[in-house]
Symmetry: C2
């Protein structure tokens, strides 16, 4: 069995899922692309469902740990914490653009596995968002606002460019896998936060280029 | 052949696509759910690809005509036009929530049909966005800004709640198919536009509850 074959299988599987869809991709397609035999895939993941679960878990464990890091600095202020959260999640998704695109797409299907993910990871994600938002409102750093609607907007702004990565590069000629995009886009979200969310309107140049 | 069977086929197909994925759904599944035989489906759409194309066309023809309506009032001002565009698209997607969710998901796959949709509908969509944004900047109604990054943010805010409709209802307990959600969410986007985009900060209460 080749070294690194597990990560090659995952990588090739995600590429195929993003061009043919998850159900439109067979283990045989993946085996062929990854240059392994089907038994190799079965050894690591049992079956396609196991591979899917591995993708979800890999994505959300990292995604939530990026959020946790940001929540850990909440005592330095809700603004600082939210800025950290935004940068962490944008850089993380930018670095894992193919996986992100696949996961965000699959999360919109009403299936058993997605329901399980929602009752674990999505609830935890909501908990972190709420913790920062509620602290900010409580301490007067943020304008009073429904946290649900803020979460909808934040998640939209955070996730969508990576789901639409293909659209961004083909139609808008913006390259969402590049560090330049991430830096610029984080700045855009910070501006949105400044004007829509924060009570004090000051723009922290020094944090932007982190 | 039953009356309305075409629309019943489409309706049931979309429901299945949203629970099993497009490739995970067979014509046989659709025929069973719609209570027709496969020949009926073939009569209207030839095959599953034909049904997919029909869904894309139906969605984008209406989506773009909602945009066109908004662009038609551009001479009354770019702000008014952009507000119209936002309300039209939110109400349209809210009314067609299952179709919207399916289309936004499929648009993230790098396939032949999506590439075709991008070179026609997505370019037209971009053209309308740009037309309003550039007019607004030119006339001093909007702050000078990269229109590509504005389009990314606008599209994120406009489309995402409907892709995430399942997440919204299950995790946030917000119901995106209800008129109440649409009204409230339009207000949120207007506030974002007010503070991030418009040079004059005034909030038009009368337009919100349209």
């Amino acid at each position: 069995m080749k070294k690194n074959s597990k990560s090659i299988i995952v990588q090739e599987a995600i590429k195929l899922f993003n061009t043919q869809g998850y159900s439109g991709t067979s283990l045989r397609d993946i085996a062929k692309k990854a240059n392994v035999n089907i038994a190799n895939i079965a050894y690591y993941f049992d079956n396609k469902q196991g591979l899917l679960e591995f993708c979800f878990t890999t994505f959300f464990e990292q995604y939530l740990s990026e959020m946790e890091e940001a929540v850990a600095v909440l005592d330095e202020g809700a603004m600082a914490s939210l800025r950290n959260l935004v940068s962490n999640l944008i850089y993380f998704q930018c670095k894992n653009i193919h996986l992100t695109r696949f996961i965000i797409r699959e999360m919109s299907i009403d299936s058993q596995i997605v329901r399980e993910i929602m009752t674990t990871y999505s609830l935890k994600e909501k908990f972190y968002f709420q913790k920062i938002l509620e602290r900010g409102i409580e301490k007067g750093e943020f304008k009073p606002h429904s946290s649900n609607y803020l979460i909808i907007q934040l998640k939209s702004l955070l996730n969508m460019p990576f789901l639409y990565s293909h659209y961004l590069s083909e139609v808008l000629h913006v390259l969402p896998h590049e560090r330049y995009f991430a830096d610029q886009y984080i700045r855009e979200i910070f501006q949105w936060m400044e004007s829509s969310l924060f009570t004090e309107a000051k723009f922290p140049e020094e944090i932007v280029v982190s």
